[in-house]
Amino acid sequence: MPKIVSLPQAVSDLVRDGDTVALEGFTHLIPFAAGHEIIRQRRRDLTLVRMTPDLVYDQMIGAGCARKLVFSWGGNPGVGSLHRMRDAIATGWPVPLELEEHSHAGMANRYVAGASGLPFAVLRGYAGTDLPAHTDTISTVVCPFTGERLAAVAALNPDVAIVHAQRADRDGNVQLWGITGVQKEAVLAADRALATVEEVVDELTPVPGAVVLPRWVLNAVAVAPRGAAPSYAHGYYDRDNAAYRAWDAISRDREKFAAWLRTIEENAPEGIVSE
């Protein structure tokens, strides 16, 4: 049964050094608070999985949490590069970073295969591109019915999936809406799952287009108000585009980044530590 616990407790219980960890949320509902808690708890040698690493993985890579990155698009959307990620790839600072690179369609299908209990997924993709030569989890398969040659991608089954959602009920059922990305697939593909939420409510009233994650597929639910900022939570707060732009200068400079890191390590936000 999932328990509604504090975020530090949830991360401490579920995320271990060396784990394969997927923090998902496609532009929307990115679990920043959970990522920052992983930084504070100094987890190491993680394989970080995420379609769009975004600022949250730039921060975790810069903090030295990651040994490997599995991804499909690594940029600061609408702004430019992720400089901590680039620094780790180019110079190994603060630790070397191995890459496993896919396309969005490939990553999405890998999660679908993982959630479906299948070893791989089939798609029309990658033909003629240079990616299969560099990524072991891309291959081809021949259709047994038509003989057509198609791309095959290995299933993704993270040790832990972490997502952020708008709300949970008191039993730990979780509801999210707006752009729902691959969160459902990531949670169902993972061995363990944590959802952080904006609030706990008595009843999950229906919302059009909402995804509900039943309590029995989640190991823990933690309340983290504004836990997706500077991304956004549909219906709660907007994306902080200025923060995304401002990250560029922080990320470019190791010293500015180190100063940012100290603020994260020393100051857990209100409402996250105490429970």
Binding site: T27, H28, W73, H102, H104, A105, G125, I179, G181, D238
Partner: protein, 332 residues
Amino acid sequence: MTETQPLVADSSGATWTADEMMSIAAARELRDGQACFVGIGLPSTAANLARRLHAPGLVLIYESGTLDTRPAELPLSIGDGVLAETALSVVGVPEVFNYWLQPGRIDVGFLSGAQLDRLGNINTTVIGEYDEPDVRLPGSGGAPEIAASCRQVIVVMRHRARAFVDQVDFVTSVGQGTGPGDRERLGLRGAGPVRVITDLGVLEPDPETAELVLTALHPGVTVEQARAETGWDLEIVEELLVRPRRPRVSWRRCARCGRWARERPGRAPPRRRGPAGRARARALRLARLHAGDVAPAGRAADRAVPGDPRGPPRARRLAGAARAVPDGRPRR
């Protein structure tokens, strides 16, 4: 990232930037009723501009899963809240790629890149070697499948020698692959890049060699500039078009055959017609369309001459610079 220096000024003193020029040229490529897979930046600007002007029924699909979205403001990312709020429906990411893009339901996909080669292949992964890159770029995102599965791809990027290269360092998204016939061999079902819109002009693949050739220039740009910023020996089509600043053309679809016909002003100003007159003119125009003497909409509509005994337009090298100087008016 944005280039805000005014590029050109006209006699009225109005100026515009390279990015605005590209956005407007790209917007003009889109037709009402098409479904368009939109990336962030210039493609998003262009698609939303087209929707506000000549293509109110344009269907915008962003890879975040927002189907038929109508944002009132331009989003900074492909997943901004305004896209979900104004969408007809929001679907998950596996669905948008597997159900909507992969089967070929999207008419037009926009792409850009750090490098583009003579065969329209695009690199957004690395400059230099993959394992020890000179520059690490963001990677694939949705681009490889957009390039593979949209019926047509329009590439929008700034025309610079370091970007327009003979061969890309890494094929992230396939254009014409290794040459004519390669897309069919690879099982890619869309046509690939049919136009490359730059801040200097427009390139299109030669029907025979699949190599990108210069088919249009923006006002105030010379062939020499375009050649200097291209890393291969750029061919120029004989019927080189200078893109009009304000094309007063509109499109009409024939109710009978579904084809699109261009309506050009000047022949009969539509303003002075009543509904009956407009209907008569449309019937006449479509009759001419069926008879084959009106340029149909399509990839070569701007320059193709139906019934021309020389056949379809080919890349023909200009003998010299003399004919390459545009006079600012489109050739009819």
